[in-house]
């Protein structure tokens, strides 16, 4: 038997009998091969190409939602079809439509990435996901008749299931491309976050680059110039890659901010074609640009820790305020406190969860420990207590310890001496404590050292007051 005859027998055994289905299979095979070959035919070289490609390509994020909707609908229709057969009849049509829209989105996606000069690992994943998805959808279209006729009952459900997985995965990659890879996890509750794989960010880095330059690039540039996408062949997600530059050469010229492409592009007028960040993203803040400029001017060293003459914001932010509970049921009593004691409880803002502020200035001289104790039942709702110049004494620390949501406490020019300050240490929310003009001593204030959120401690005009710079100079 000649080879040709053997092939004919093989084909006879494997290919469907009907001429129409056979043609369908052959066309499908060709389409699949073409799709698989596409990444080699149109290489993602990280260089932008024709504008018309980008113009059309930018419809990809719009169109891409159509196949998602249609394909998700298919298993729903198939399942619902077992109760209402008419629905199952429509499933075939929806599936075919899904495949067609897959092809269209794929084509636009290619134009977007190729025309815009995008490249990177997430992009490749998204691309291969899209290709696999399209081929999967095509196979589903072909395998569905076997399922309805009962010849091969397992193939179609299995294929459909894998298509669903491919869909979710591909869509997630696409989402990561547009919104950034931490889009879903950024606001995840801390309790859940610890199950995530640790990011490689090094919290102990002290260099100026690690503290300021990298975070700016990470927040504004890495979306298109990073691991997932590296437009123009440029990646800025690490120091070495940043210094290496892109297809057009280095973007940072140490010591020469005006010749550094990165600075030039971010300082163009925002409607300029080459302005970065591109595509209408928010421009860098002027101080961020100033930091980059100063850092480049100083030689763009990865190790330098501080730049002379460059202000830095406080590295760590204050803890977010904890919302207080609902005090609306107490509204009348809160009003009565003002009428009775002359001290007011006023809301911080129109949002009840922001809490209440205790103002005593109207009755300062007559407001002592006993009066403060009467506010104890509102303690969980009070976030700030203005007790400056009142008659409260050390005895009030006991009461204040119950103000669990207290963030700011004014005790300036009161009779407190600091005896019992330690009772305040469980107030983890406390960020501001004013003891100016009191008799608090250095040793009494020392217990406050354990309160890590207490960032604003004022000891002006007390025995504990730290010597001013001028006095220190005099002492020397």
């Amino acid at each position: 038997m000649s080879t040709r005859q053997r092939l004919a027998v093989l084909a006879d055994r494997w290919l469907p009998r009907s001429k129409k289905t056979r043609a369908a299979w052959i066309v499908s095979l060709a389409v699949s091969l073409a799709l698989l070959a596409l990444p080699w035919l149109m290489r993602m070289d990280g260089k932008p190409h024709a504008d018309w490609q980008q113009f059309l390509g930018r419809f990809h994020p719009l169109l891409v939602h159509i196949p998602i909707g249609l394909i998700v609908l298919v298993p729903l229709l198939e399942i619902a079809g077992s109760f209402k057969p008419a629905l199952r009849e429509s499933a075939g049509f929806v599936l075919a439509l899904g495949f067609a829209s897959c092809l269209a989105s794929l084509a636009l996606g290619f134009l977007l990435a190729y025309g815009g000069g995008a490249a990177g690992t997430v992009l490749s994943r998204h691309m291969w996901g899209g290709i696999a998805l399209t081929i999967g959808a095509l196979l589903c279209v072909l395998a569905r008749p076997w399922w309805t006729s009962g010849t091969v009952p397992w193939a179609y459900p299995a294929l459909l299931l894998s298509v669903m997985f491919a869909l979710v995965w591909t869509a997630h990659q696409g989402g990561s491309l547009t919104h950034g890879s931490d889009y879903l996890t950024r606001y995840m509750p801390p309790g859940l976050k610890r199950f995530l794989p640790q990011s490689q960010a090094n919290a102990t880095s002290v260099s100026f680059y690690a503290r300021h330059i990298h975070p700016i690039l990470d927040a504004n540039c890495v979306g298109c110039h990073g691991d997932s996408k590296s437009n123009g062949g440029l990646r800025v997600d690490s120091y070495d890659l940043l210094m290496k530059g892109g297809k057009d050469g280095p973007v940072i010229v140490p010591g020469q901010p005006d010749k550094s492409m990165l600075l030039v592009r971010v300082t163009l007028p925002s409607d300029h074609k080459q302005f970065m960040p591109a595509e209408g993203r928010a421009p860098l803040r002027s101080e961020e640009i100033a930091w980059i400029r100063a850092w480049v001017a100083q030689g763009a060293s990865p190790a330098i820790t501080a730049l002379p003459g460059v202000p830095e914001p406080e590295a760590s932010k204050e803890p977010p305020p904890q919302p207080v509970g609902d005090y609306s049921a107490l509204a009348r009593e809160i009003g009565q406190m003002d009428a009775g004691l002359g001290a007011k409880l006023l809301p911080v803002s129109s949002k009840p969860e922001d809490g209440l502020v205790l103002y005593t200035v109207n009755v300062a001289g007559n407001f002592g420990d006993a009066q403060l104790a009467q506010f104890q039942r509102f303690a969980p709702f009070i976030v700030e207590a203005e007790l400056g110049r009142t008659a409260v004494t050390d005895a009030s620390f006991e009461t204040l310890a119950k103000f669990t949501h207290l963030r700011a406490l004014h005790l300036e020019e009161t009779g407190v001496t600091g005896d019992g300050l330690a009772k305040l240490t469980p107030l983890t929310q406390l960020t501001y404590l004013n003891l100016s003009g009191t008799k608090v001593t250095q040793s009494a204030a020392a217990v406050l050292g354990s309160m890590k959120n207490l960032r604003h401690l004022y000891l002006y005009n007390t025995p504990a007051q730290p010597a001013s710079a001028a006095e220190q100079a005099q002492a020397k």
């Binding site: 002027s286 101080e287 003459g309 129109s350 922001d354 103002y359 004014h410 100016s436 604003h456 005009n461």
Partner: protein, 512 residues
């Protein structure tokens, strides 16, 4: 006879105030009634005209009455969000300080001495009547050198050595710009958001929206600095701290710069606290009867003001008693601060008002309007204010008050880089310049140690990040927890607001 419910023309006339309609409508009706009654009676009794003028023009206008303290804050749901600053101190540099000589360092200017400013830079800028006849506009570089100060290395003129020391605490805006070119409209625009008189000023809006923290002192206080030089003192008037169409309760209360801080606050001899109280009670009773008859809400404002004055009889002497200030205070503010009415004294007073929960304090310093003899006068005015500004910010900071107090330093416009009148190496003058001027803020809600906005090489046009007066005021309101678009008051059929109808935006880059 039973009446058909819809047949109104045979019905007795109901009192509108008894109908189940919203309280606001009733108030509006009561106010309208006031006007009708007034018009009805003037024909008969001329004396009413005298009363009406005593009550102010509001009785004749018959506007919607404004709610009093607390009511407003509650109804407006203020603050809209948790504020960074609870109070503000506004150091108003009336006359237009020269940004060219104080803040906006231009190292290229000395080489352009006496050269004409290019027409391309000047563009179509309107000139004042004072320089419009000038044949040429020669560039007058600053007579003073600039130095870098602080860790930020910010350039500050040698005229402001004290301010230079605290430059890392300041948020400097070099790109403030206004639409007005003459004092009165420009100063009205800065203070009330409108060049025309009649609108409430920033302090009144704050008093109206945020209410009082201390019932014993006015919510909004104005401190005037006494005059130092005889020249260039553009007048400031009470229009600038007027409550406009808001209740007069929200107007600024001035402390005098000499003698008693508030006139007639001390009881005359033979009148003790008790007698004063009984007299006030009687006056209040008469006022209440008047209110019942006429329904004019301004009558209630009067009652409130009499009561405030009564409480101020004890709170103001305590406020003005500086005997308990420690030595460090005098070291910081300097010897001027001992003399009431000086800028340093007012800065100290502003700190004391902040400590006592006064929501808004505005210190006015006149004398910046230097059309000629800049080298003669500017050192005097700058020297007079430099230490006070530094002392105030530093004092607030060391006492822990700067965390929730916003300090603002601003004039109504800047000054031209070209000389008005003759230019010599020794002296020059500067005309009004609305296109760019430098202002600064410090404290609650703003980002310290930054300079925002840039001007061109001639300190003439803003080239980057312009800040309009509207944006400036919107940003101040934001620091105090107020959305400038939501703090409104219905008047003349419009939802009036400080920033006016033209869109304004909070300058996010200035915020901490």
């Amino acid at each position: 006879m039973k009446q058909h419910p819809l047949c109104t023309d045979t019905e007795h006339e109901h009192s509108v105030l008894a109908l189940p309609v919203p309280a606001g409508v009733k108030q509006e009706w009561a106010a309208l009634q006031t006007r009708r009654q007034f018009l009805g009676r003037t024909g008969k009794v001329l004396g009413w005209a005298a009363l009406a003028s005593l009550l102010g023009d509001r009785a004749m206008r018959g506007d919607t009455p404004s709610p009093s303290y607390g009511q407003a804050a509650e109804a407006l749901k203020l603050p809209h969000f948790a504020p960074r600053a609870k109070r503000a101190i506004y150091l108003f540099m009336s006359g237009g300080p020269s940004q060219v000589d104080l803040w906006d360092y231009k190292p290229n200017l000395p080489s352009l001495y006496d050269k004409d400013i290019p027409d391309s830079v000047r563009g179509s800028q309107q000139l004042t009547g004072m320089t419009t006849g000038q044949a040429r506009f020669p560039i007058a570089p600053s007579h003073w050198a600039f130095k870098r100060y602080g860790e930020t290395g910010t350039w500050v003129s040698d005229l402001l050595p004290y301010t230079g020391r605290m430059v890392d605490d300041l948020t400097i805006i070099k790109s403030t710009n206004t639409e007005a070119i003459n004092h009165e409209p420009a100063i009205m625009l800065m203070n009330t958001g409108n060049m025309n008189a009649g609108k409430p000023c920033l302090g009144s809006w704050l008093a109206y929206g945020l209410g009082s923290m201390n019932d014993n002192l006015p919510t909004f206080m104005v401190l005037q600095t006494k005059l130092n030089t005889k020249e260039n003192n553009q007048p400031v008037s009470s229009r600038l701290w007027s409550s406009g169409f808001l209740s007069s309760e929200f107007a600024g209360v001035g402390l005098r710069s000499a003698g008693d801080p508030v006139l007639y606050l001390t009881d005359p001899s033979g009148v003790d606290r008790e007698v004063r109280r009984r007299m006030l009670d009687a006056v209040n009773e008469i006022n209440r009867q008047t209110f019942e008859e006429l329904g004019d809400p301004e009558t209630n404002s009067r009652i409130a003001q009499y009561e405030m004055a009564y409480r101020m009889q004890s709170s103001v002497p305590e406020l003005a008693d500086l005997s308990k200030e420690p030595k460090s205070t005098w070291d910081l503010y300097g010897p001027d601060a001992r003399e009431p009415g000086t800028f340093a004294y007012n800065c100290l007073m502003a700190r004391r008002l902040a400590e006592r929960g006064v929501r808004f304090t505005q210190v006015y310093k006149r004398g910046w309007d230097m059309h000629d003899n800049v080298t003669g006068i500017l050192p005097i005015i700058a020297g007079e204010t430099d230490r006070g500004c530094y002392a105030l910010v530093t004092d607030l900071k060391q006492r822990g008050l700067l965390d929730d107090t916003l300090v603002v330093w601003a004039g109504e416009f800047g000054r031209t880089v070209y000389s008005q009148g003759g230019l010599s190496p020794a002296n020059y003058g500067r005309d009004h310049h609305p296109r760019c001027y430098t202002t600064w803020m410090a404290g609650g809600g703003v980002r310290p140690g930054i300079t925002y906005g840039e001007t061109d090489d001639y300190s003439y046009n803003v080239v980057k990040d312009p800040v309009t007066v509207r944006d400036f005021n919107a940003t101040i309101l934001h620091c105090l927890g107020i959305d400038h678009n939501k703090l409104t008051y219905k008047f003349q059929g419009l939802d009036q607001k400080l920033t006016g109808p033209v869109p304004a935006s909070v300058v996010q880059d200035l915020l901490a």
